[in-house]
Structure formats: C-alpha cells, structure tokens
C-alpha cells in the first residue's frame, strides 16, 4: 500500500489497537521505573486522536499527522504528550503537502520526528528514553532507503530497529525522565516510552 492519506488513517487506528492491547504491559513497565501512567495516558490520547481523525476529512498524510500531534499534546497529561506530540508535529511539517510519501520522504519524516523528540526532551541516545528507539528506527530507515528499498520495506526496517532499540534500553541507567531518579535500580527494566515508540512504528509498518 502506498504511504498516502488512507495509510496514515489506518496507522492511527492500528496504533490505538496496539496501545489498547499492550496497555497493561506499558503500565507495568512505567510502574517499575516511572509513575505508572504511560499506558493509560497514551490510550486516552489515541482515543481522542481516532475520534478527531474519523470526524475529519484529510487530503494528505501530513494533515492526518498534524491532528495526531495537536490531540496528543492536549490530551496526554504526562511527558508522552509533548514528546509524541512534537514528534508528530515535526513529522507533519516534514511530510508537507505530499499526497504520498516515497522512501526518501519517509526517512525525512522519521528524522524530523526523532529530532523533535530530541529537542523537546533534551535526551541523547543511551539516556534510556524513547530516543533510543526513534534513533535506531531512523538509522535503519536511512540505510534501507539508501539501498533502494520500497517505502514499505523502509518502514518495516524502521519498526524492527525500533523494537531492538527499545530492548537496548534494558541494561541502561536512565539519565532523563522520571526513571533518572532511580539510578542503578532502573537497570534491567525496559523504558516504557521506547517500547510504545516501537509499537507505534510497528503499527505504521503493518498499515503499509
């Protein structure tokens, strides 16, 4: 499937489905090293997103992504609201007016999202945050696009790498976010924001 408006809309629906399915897991991950509200917050956020997307009519994937951004920012009370909200906002800006994203445009969209998260949260790779999943996804997407892969294959590579990136947070000591108060005690736990990033990008690949 081409990465067009229908894809973006399907991505939104699949995201809500996967967040709903993994809500308990995200809550548990966040309870272990955070404040335990990540699953609930994202679920509430994407419910509002789906409602708004279903109620509207959009000409471009970028327009869909912009609605996702504003709804997440205004409905998710935790750090995930501004972080994912900024990611989608920058992604929407990078997507621009294109009616369909090719492989290079997709890499630009993912890069803009990752850079938005980095500039908002001031975290780097290795800080045990969602940046670890986003950066792994961007790197893999860029490599796949450079090898001439299709947009679908590029997304597939990004989703796989995001999952690996999320797993890579387990042995780390957190340097940003609520888990940074825990020091060594956060070691052995996966970062919930990195895990939800992996689910969201998996939903994007499945929709393609």
């Amino acid at each position: 499937m081409a990465l067009d408006t229908a894809w973006a809309t399907d991505w939104v629906h699949r995201t809500l489905a996967t967040i709903d399915e993994h809500r308990a897991e995200l809550v548990t991950l966040d309870r272990e090293i955070g404040d335990g509200d990540h699953g609930e917050n994202l679920d509430r956020g994407f419910r509002a997103v789906v409602e708004a997307v279903d109620a509207g009519s959009f000409d471009t994937p970028g327009a869909v992504l912009k609605v996702v951004a504003t709804k997440l920012i205004s409905t998710v009370g935790g750090a995930a609201g501004p972080l994912f909200g900024t990611a989608y906002l920058k992604a929407a800006q990078a997507a621009g007016d294109a009616t369909e994203l090719d492989a290079d445009a997709l890499v630009a969209v993912l890069t803009a999202a990752r850079d938005g998260v980095v500039s908002r949260g001031k975290a780097e790779v290795g800080d045990k945050t969602m940046v670890d999943a986003w950066s792994a996804a961007v790197d893999a997407a860029a490599t796949a696009a450079a090898a001439g892969e299709s947009p679908e294959r590029v997304l597939e590579a990004a989703a796989d790498a995001a999952r690996t990136g999320a797993e890579s947070t387990e042995p780390l000591v957190a340097r940003k976010g609520r888990a940074s108060y825990l020091g060594e005690r956060a070691v052995g736990h996966r970062d919930p924001g990195a895990q939800s990033t992996a689910y969201i990008l998996r939903a994007a690949a499945d929709a393609a």
Partner: protein, 254 residues
C-alpha cells in the same frame, strides 16, 4: 513593570496551594495556577497552561514555575504555539516550585522586573537546601505558626552581629533591635521586611544575610526575642535602617 506568575504542577492542589501561599505575601501580583490534567487527574495540561499565559496577558512579563520534568515539556510545547511577541514575554524558571514561587512573588510585589523575579526564584535552589539542613524544624513551624508557642530566647545564629563594611563614600548605618512579634521573623513578616528593604537603594543585610532575599531571611528562622542586626551601606542607609527598625518594633502588625 508588572510581572505575572504562572504555577504549573502535576497536581491541581499543589498549584492552587502554592498560589494561595504566595498570594498571602504578594497580594498585588497576578498569580495563576495551572495544575493537573483537564479531567482533574495528575499530569499537566497544555490547555490550562496556554489559558494561564493568556490570563496573564495584562502583565508586562510572565515567569513560569514548574514541578517535575514533564511540566517543563508541556510548558515548552505551549510556548511553541505562541506567536513570537507573546513567547518573548514568558520566562521559565527552573527553581523549586514552592520556594521559588514565593521568592518570585515577593520580588514581583516589590516591583522587580522579569530578571529580578527570575533571580529571586533561583535563590530558592540554594537557600532552601541550606535551610533544610540547618534549621528545618523551625522553618517547618512557620506556616503552622507553632513557633508562637515556643519559649523566647536566644538561639544559635539568632543574634550574631556583623561588622558593617564601608567602602568609598557610601554612608553606613547599623542598629540592633529585638523581635517582639509572637511568631518571630516567619514568612509573612519576612516578606514585609523584604518589601521595605527593597524600597531602598542601600545594600541592606540582616544578621549577615541579604535583607532583600526572602528565602535567606526565612532560613535564619529568628524567633520572638531574637536580636536583629540591620546593616546598611549606600546613600539612603540611615533611612533604610530607621524604616526597618520601626517595622520590627511595630511587631509587623501582629
């Protein structure tokens, strides 16, 4: 120059309580609370923050105090949605929310500009910690007014005079008076003291600490009966000392 203050917390009760506490000492400062999520839960609200900044549109500048990390993220995100003019008026302090807000509010009440208010809030990061290690029991009593039941008498550090250092042609003045009000130099009297000191050009110290710093004065935790030594250096040093001496002798209206 009017500086408004926005208090952003994950908890509506913390934001509103902090505003109420600060308002007691800074009645004329526009203070707005933006705590909790839109549905009354724990978290920060983009809408409430945006509306709060809007409510303070009448102020020349807005200083924002935040609690935990995502409060800063939500504030930053809200600022991104403002136009450049509106964004330029808003300054985010990294001071601890309760002490920072109170110090900021008193600085704003005394007519400080945005830089002065931010600087006052920033003192909360250090003097709050000092107070916690040196005299937390007394500091803890202040809001509860429990200190009024404590026997009066000397406490270590309560009446140590300092040498007034004069340099150049600056006038120097000094006086020592006894605290007569029941609860000592607790939060509200300390704020009155700072407001009076801030009206003078002279550098003023009280028992060796900056008399224009609310948190430094509160950290002294001076009880009823303690000696208060006021030193001033500067053109209106005499007037500063006389004014502050009368204020202490008046018992701050208690």
């Amino acid at each position: 120059m009017t500086v408004g203050i926005l208090v952003v917390s994950h908890s509506a009760a913390i934001a509103e309580g902090t505003v109420a506490l600060a308002r007691q000492m800074a009645a004329d400062v526009p203070l707005v609370a933006a705590g909790g999520t839109d549905d009354g839960g724990i978290g920060t609200s983009f809408e409430a923050i945006t509306e709060g900044i809007g409510e303070l549109a009448g102020a020349d500048a807005v200083v924002v105090l935040c609690d935990l990390g995502s409060a800063y993220l939500t504030v930053d995100t809200a600022l991104d949605f403002l136009d450049d003019d509106a964004r330029g008026r808003v300054h985010v302090s990294s001071a601890p929310v309760v002490e920072g807000t109170i110090a900021a509010a008193v600085a704003a009440q005394t007519g400080g500009d945005a830089d002065a208010v931010l600087a006052a809030a920033a003192t909360a990061a250090t003097s709050g910690a000092d107070a916690g290690s040196a005299s937390s029991p007394v500091l803890g009593d202040q809001t509860a007014e429990a200190a009024s039941d404590a026997p009066s008498g000397d406490r270590p550090g309560g009446a140590v005079p300092v040498d007034g250092t004069a340099d150049g042609d600056d006038a120097v003045a000094s006086a020592t008076v006894e605290l007569v009000n029941e609860s000592g130099l607790h939060a509200r009297p300390a704020a009155e003291f700072v407001k009076a000191a801030a009206k003078h050009e002279a550098r003023v110290s009280v028992n060796g600490v900056d008399a224009k710093s609310l948190l430094a004065i509160m950290a002294l935790a001076l009880p009823k009966g303690a000696s208060v030594t006021i030193d001033a250096t500067g053109p209106d040093a005499r007037d500063a000392v006389d004014t502050l001496v009368s204020l202490v002798r008046s018992g701050f209206g208690e």
